[in-house]
Symmetry: C2
Subunit: 368 residues, 2 copies
């Protein structure tokens, strides 16, 4: 019997609740497919700060590296918001694990679930057919350049006197752009064959280099794929104006952070969306939404994004696309039957159709 | 008779067409108010590159500095897109004039015009009542840090060989954050008394400093104003989710570029929105939308954003708020009568109600 090791990272807020449902679904899929998934929890984020004053303890990184895949829930919360600049922050755990595992590609599929189309703040005719794949570079750019604070004896204060100065450095190397461009073109070949490359080349040198390299990789290796360039500010507009026109959107780390959240919000299905972070070794899968500390511990969080992250893990880490489709079909079935968690319910949802976290997980398992 | 000098910069694309209507309206207001506005054209952007190989000729800067206000249309177009990295680019004219005039505050009001609410891709109940002011820092951050390209003998290419590396530097000084924060709080006091400060403090040092300084300025000088912090990725979502909740939104240059375009698009009234760029000297006013090279020269562009930029000029440069209100009332009157330019017409607009650029300008003048 085939067996895979999954490093599970519950993290903070609603994390432990939703990852429990992800594991349930994974176990059910395993039982049906005749594959064993061995999940082992490790600490990350605020939970890890509380336990060992480190948002990414060595043991966690070692467990992740030894696993066949990593399933993350979410990290962070007001408990660890500190005004002390040297206090460890939960998000550092995320950034460090991305870098340590070399997860340079973040794939965020954004699509509309028909049953939830009404939840979007956009008009139904505008979001109809939205189905895009955001490809975000995840280990470079301003996220991983130096971040420094200086105290200048002159020039930084109000009248040229002493004051503070902060500097962040955005840096890209040729190979970093090349490899993410290839990921985008490969994704497009499996989809509708179109890539939109987003940059700010009228201001940034990294963007000018980005555009040159994306075009070179395109012309040399992927001339069959359609390629267009769009400035980041224009993209922020066009995602709202004509979201259904996008197929694959590729961009650097910071722009990807902003645009992928914007794109997710457009669908109104944020509680449904997950992402895959891939590199040359083990991959990581997580829901797109955050740790929602305001509803943590109440058993009302939506576990579907976490469940979809399990489907992405099956596809990308274990090449089990058929089994991934089981999950998607099961979730669609549950939604079509009218079951909802609170966040995706609307005024037409009868109270008895609103489920808690665990009940929603059970419904999906039952539908499998 | 009072007299003001206005440096007018038609720029590229639809710029010359729409600025002509702005001048018409300005002259009409002047006639009624008994104030003389002396407009003098100067070159900027692509037009200036064509004429003197420089997107901001010295003569233009001198004219701007000698004027009481600058009225800009828009710059750029495919004609000046070049793969030669050393070729002058139209947008450099914009960036350089901002820096040279010290225009550190960009004010972008974003609101819904009832007559055009249907043009938004968002649901009417979501955009109802949207009325916010984006305050963007305009002369700092990654826009004005160094932008460099290197060729590394090793480490930047695919297998650690030679390759390119690009670096952009994001930098803020204490006084830059202080003064833009004050602008935001001042704006909030004249509005609904709430400021949302946007940063990415979980990643950037400039953001951590930004947040500290904004809070210090708030606590020391503007404790009466409500202040909230929002991460930039979350802001990109909330602008779509609950746009009517925002009053004043203040952020650094790059985030402001992205978020102000997103906010403008949400209204569906992009062709109506203008911005003011203010500093310690002469101020600059311009429409929010671009040079639209695809429709340039056809006499069909919407001049209303340019006309609103004239209203902003009256308010901010000449303290003529009453006269600015004349313009707003006149435009509303024209819209309520059903007149439209092509971009803001919808399927219900009868063909005879669709006006060209100059006719729309004439209607506004007639309504004054
Ligand atoms: C937690 C934070 C550092 C992270 C990021 O900015 O990458 C998050 O917003 C994300 O998109 O995964
Ligand atoms: C033309 C470009 C450099 C400019 C910017 O990015 O600031 C524009 O997008 C704007 O927002 O005024």
């Amino acid at each position: 019997k085939k067996s895979y090791k999954v490093c599970t990272l519950p993290g903070d807020g609603i994390g432990p609740e939703v990852i429990a449902e992800g594991k349930k679904v994974l176990a059910a899929v395993g039982a049906r497919a005749g594959v064993e998934f061995i999940c082992e929890d490790a600490l990350i984020g605020g939970a890890a700060i509380d336990a060992c004053a480190d948002p990414l303890p060595e043991a966690t990184l070692a467990a992740a590296q030894a696993a066949d895949a990593v399933l993350l829930a979410s990290v962070g919360g007001p408990k660890w918001d500190s005004t002390d600049p040297d206090a460890p922050r939960p998000e550092q755990g995320i950034l460090r694990i991305r870098k340590a595992l070399g997860l340079y590609t973040n794939l965020r599929p954004v699509k509309i679930y028909d049953a939830l189309a009404g939840a979007s703040t956009l008009k139904p005719e505008v979001i109809k057919g939205v189905d895009m794949m955001l490809v975000r570079e995840l280990t470079g750019g301003i996220y991983f350049g130096s971040h420094e604070r200086f105290y200048d004896e002159q020039g930084a204060g109000a009248n040229g006197e002493a004051g503070q100065r902060a500097v962040d450095v955005m840096e890209y190397r040729e190979y970093e752009v090349e490899r993410i461009a290839r990921q985008a073109f490969e994704a497009a070949r499996k989809r509708r064959g179109k890539v939109t490359s987003v940059d700010k080349r009228n201001v940034l040198e990294t963007s000018r280099m980005w555009r040159e390299i994306v075009h070179r990789v395109h012309d040399e290796e992927y001339a069959d794929v359609e390629l267009e360039d769009l400035l980041v500010d224009n993209t922020a507009m066009q995602l709202i104006n004509r979201p259904a026109d996008f197929d694959v959107v590729v961009t650097e780390n910071m722009f990807g952070d902003i645009l992928s959240d914007e794109a997710a919000q457009i669908t109104g299905s944020l509680g449904m969306l997950a992402s895959a972070s891939l590199g040359d070794g083990v991959s990581l899968f997580e829901p797109s939404a955050g740790s929602a500390p305001d509803i943590a511990g109440q058993g009302i969080a939506n576990p579907l994004a976490q469940i979809f992250s399990v489907a992405m893990m099956l596809t990308y880490a274990f090449d089990m696309t058929e089994e991934a489709a089981w999950i998607e079909t099961a979730v669609e079935h549950v939604l079509n039957e009218g079951w909802r968690t609170r966040d995706i319910a609307d005024s037409d949802t009868p109270a008895e159709k609103i489920l808690g976290t665990a009940d929603m997980g059970d419904k999906v398992v039952a539908a499998l």
